[in-house]
């Protein structure tokens, strides 16, 4: 994967999920959660490096889905399990554009 914008966005989503799960679950398991604001700050900092197009798409999807970026496996969107055109993968690799699922609209991420 060479799409740097998508890489940063993937990291952004990982942190997004991390913040939520830490508060909801990890506290009860006994992990001290005390750096919430620090991590929110890091998330804000990351936003500066994401192009408006990527960030807006992410935030728009975030209101609908817990995870706006989903992996693709066997040409299938793992968000809605619909089959994607085979050429998507090839194109995404070549032009490094953002590709979204035609069915659910989620941002697609190919694992190698």
């Amino acid at each position: 994967m060479k799409n740097t914008q998508l890489e940063i966005l993937v990291h952004y989503q990982d942190i997004d999920l991390m913040l939520r799960e830490a508060e909801e679950v990890e506290k009860t398991l006994g992990f001290p959660i005390e750096g919430h604001e620090k991590l929110q700050g890091a998330k804000k900092e990351l936003e500066k490096h994401i192009s408006p197009k990527y960030l807006h798409t992410y935030q728009r999807l975030r209101t609908r889905y817990k995870r706006p970026i989903v992996p693709v496996q066997n040409d299938t969107c793992l968000g809605c399990f619909s089959k994607l055109p085979t050429y998507f993968k090839v194109r995404a690799r070549e032009d490094q554009e953002m590709y979204t699922c035609e069915n659910c609209g989620r941002i697609l991420y190919w694992m190698n």
């Binding site: 994967m1 890489e7 993937v10 990291h11 989503q13 990982d14 942190i15 999920l17 991390m18 913040l19 799960e21 830490a22 679950v25 990890e26 398991l29 006994g30 992990f31 001290p32 959660i33 005390e34 750096g35 919430h36 620090k38 991590l39 890091a42 995870r67 970026i69 989903v70 992996p71 496996q73 793992l78 991420y109 694992m111 190698n112």
Partner: protein, 154 residues
């Protein structure tokens, strides 16, 4: 999640009996090195960055010489558990300030079919909270020894 599938998450190739690093970030890097070799991670640098960010949220050092660094990340496609021992002990900024000698690293994709990430995290927390078992796990010298104790505790 049944006992046998929990035990099967621990694998010999994901077990380090003596870690070389002396600092938290070195240890995380060293443990992830096991995955790099087998190309299990799509983007190891990104994963390391996510694990470091998790530590800013609060140390994953649970106290009593055990740390359980963990995160969800889109860079892996299956749940992974890696175990490492550090006989020297690592400063993990744990609540009790004790050096960490046993590390469980848990990494999972954002969504998994069986949804076992949090149960696995909870189960490991529960196991290491048992004084006797924790001490035995810390003293384990090889994988067979280690997995036998896990098997008895799970």
């Amino acid at each position: 999640m049944d006992t046998s599938s929990f035990i099967s998450l621990f694998r010999e190739e994901r077990y380090v009996s003596e870690l070389k690093g002396t600092r938290k970030n070195q240890i995380l890097d060293e443990l992830l090195g096991l995955l790099k070799q087998n190309h299990v991670v799509n983007h190891p640098d990104l994963l390391l960055e996510t694990l470091k960010k998790r530590e800013t949220l609060g140390s994953t050092g649970l106290g009593k010489n055990v740390a359980i660094p963990h995160c969800r990340t889109l860079t892996v496609s299956e749940l992974i558990v890696i175990v490492g021992h550090s006989n020297k002990g690592v400063d993990w900024q744990a609540m009790d300030k004790k050096p960490v000698t046993l590390i469980f690293l848990i990494i999972a994709p954002p969504q998994e079919k069986q949804n076992i990430y949090l149960p696995v995290l909870g189960k490991i927390c529960e196991i290491v909270r048992e004084n006797k078992i924790r001490k035995m796990l810390i003293r384990a010298t090889d994988f067979r020894d280690f997995i036998n104790i896990i098997g008895a505790a799970a």
